[in-house]
Symmetry: C2
């Protein structure tokens, strides 16, 4: 089989959201379609992928470097002879040819997007959901799992107030979420404490609350925050400080009992290894949130899991950042702990595919083939002109 | 004053070179011109910059993210009121708006290119060479310095043999170089040892030889290499292992006396800090080679120097990777140790600006305004259609 075309486009997300680090008003994401010469029901089998959020689209890099390498490859170079299909690991090596080590920033997101589309394609060719394909190849091949998700919200909105935050928390509970994360750090600590208390007043003892600092705090603000939130028994504090300041993570982990979640802005196994070596994180409580799509995709994520397990971490401590439809498939297939979810299904990166229902904080991925982009209407609509 | 246009283009470098990590056959670089409304001698004053080499051009990122932010800014946002000109540090903050922490890969090169053009502009507006402007603002403002450079060569060429390598070494000596670096790691260790001996047979005791492994060796190969080259008293071994494997750097530095050069594939102060914290490098001998243009430009490089000096490093231990015309200006202006130079002036990234002469391994930057792109004919030709 042969890849006959690869099409991509950049989509404006234009979300009126803000965290302690950035505004999402000009945020973009890339949509990618890999078209093959395999025809089923009169149409070519196509692999689809949609970017994770927060680091902008990858159109320029895809067009300049990675897609030309893919299109120049001979089908023999990416053939999985045993299965008579495409080998995602060979595609990965093709697109990474002539790339230097180090410097894991945008490149991992571009490569991860290609990788996600290739796995979607592989799963469709095997007429399986991706989670099942991954479970068979890399996991325990078990029965369909229940996957824990948390609602990622509590952004700073224009005209934000505590009542609006409480309404948001009520919506999440009504949707079936039992874990919720809100932003802090965009306002002074006293007001952030009021935000936490307002959220907790709705969530009660039946749901867990985490807070996200988006990697912005200097040392003293981070220490003050851990101290200030200690009474609330938060599920975790996310990205309290610069994601690359491992020594400061270690200091905070040694000083404060609240779990730490971090890793969404480390995009490679080499960076994840440094977090594990130097970050002082605690395998009994902390969360590793590396983003699959932003981090070179599934082959690199498997390398990260291997490094973790060498160091005594359970893969249940992995709660990948965003990635959404892809994250659900990978978390389910590889037996990870759970994943972040954007609760607003009207956004391209929010909600779940049709047929995936949320109850008591958990979802099940279902048994439809591939990743599921075709089963989220507003997202699939983005791809229509790529597929005509 | 106001920025009225920003123009960029991607240039194919297409060098028939190979190191242990990649081929440069498909390498690209970006050329950038920032045009102002200041008219001198009937023409607008323009800031120019040309990419460093090895990580591809930055056109996609420039067009998608960074240049739109620059063009959307109001001139008041980037005004240096005291000097009546553009403030490079304000430009830096404008283009980095809404960028998350962590993930320093391609973004630093795109921002570094903008920054380089802005400093070229600032120096031209002050009618000074950039080195002098930097020395006045951030250095000791001293008299024109002599800058040590080394010839970066000994790539694996098609049809490569030891005689060709020796001819290359002779040319470098004839050009005036007294430090030379060659590639190793692209062939088995025995053959690399013969390459080293062939080079040394030409260089003799009057010149120093370094070797570059391009970040590719696994642990055992790195240890074997340090052992094998110990008798040759090399000036340094560059990037022996993955640039992010700090623990392995520390192991090698503790075990072997040969100096280590590294840092060209770390693109931020956050990453440089981790190298300094965990890499076990020795301030009395090792070389820090962070690339100015690839690492968010001069503002970030000043942050890196501050981190180094906090930890007892002299800025004389800095030998920036490539960057060439820019590197010379920054090394001279900030009093660094020296810099890498590509000796082939017929390449866009090789040689020096007109008026810069090499003798006994040193060059002086001269007193012409700006960075000097206008004074390297083949490089300036790339910009002609950006300036019409």
């Amino acid at each position: 089989m042969r890849i006959v075309a690869v099409r991509e486009k950049t989509v404006a997300l234009a979300a009126p959201l803000r965290n302690a680090s950035i505004s999402f008003a000009a945020m973009t994401a890339s949509a990618l379609a890999i078209v093959t010469d395999v025809i089923r029901d009169g149409r070519p089998v196509v692999g689809l992928a949609f970017d994770s959020i927060g680091r902008y689209g990858h159109g320029g890099l895809l067009r300049e470097r990675f897609l030309p390498r893919l299109m120049a490859a001979h089908p023999d170079d990416y053939a999985d002879e045993a299965r008579g299909m495409i080998d995602p690991l060979k595609i990965w090596s093709i697109v990474m040819r002539d790339e230097k080590p180090g410097g894991h920033g945008e490149r991992p997101g571009a490569v991860g997007l290609i990788d996600a589309a290739v796995w979607d394609l592989a799963a469709k060719l095997e007429q399986k959901p991706l989670w099942r394909l991954l479970a068979e190849r890399f996991g325990d091949g078990a029965a369909e799992p229940h996957v824990a998700v948390y609602a990622s919200g509590g952004h700073y909105l224009p005209g934000d107030d505590l009542a609006a935050l409480q309404d948001e928390m009520k919506r999440y509970l009504d949707q079936g979420f039992r874990r919720v994360k809100i932003k802090i750090g965009g306002t002074p600590l006293d007001h952030d404490r009021r935000r936490i208390e307002a959220a907790l007043s709705i969530l009660g003892s039946g749901a867990a609350l985490a807070v996200d600092c988006n990697g912005t705090f200097p040392r003293e603000r981070a220490r003050d925050t851990f101290l200030a939130v200690a009474p609330y028994e938060l599920a975790w504090i996310e990205e309290p400080v610069d994601p690359l300041d491992y020594a400061l993570h270690a200091e905070l982990a040694a000083a404060f009992p609240t779990p730490i979640g971090t890793g969404e802005n480390l995009f490679s196994a080499a960076d994840a290894r440094n977090l594990l070596r130097y970050g002082g994180l605690r395998p009994d409580r902390d969360l590793l949130q590396m983003d699959i799509s932003h981090s070179y995709g599934i082959p690199e994520y498997l390398r990260i899991l291997a490094l973790m397990e060498e160091q005594g971490w359970s893969r249940r401590r992995c709660w990948p950042h965003a990635g959404h439809l892809l994250a659900l498939q990978v978390v389910a297939g590889l037996g990870l702990g759970g994943h972040e979810a954007a609760p607003d299904a009207s956004s391209l990166y929010g909600g779940f595919a049709a047929g995936v229902s949320l109850a008591d904080g958990q979802i099940t991925p279902g048994d439809a083939p591939g990743v599921g982009i075709e089963r989220k209407d507003n997202l699939y609509a983005v791809f229509r002109d790529l597929l005509d």
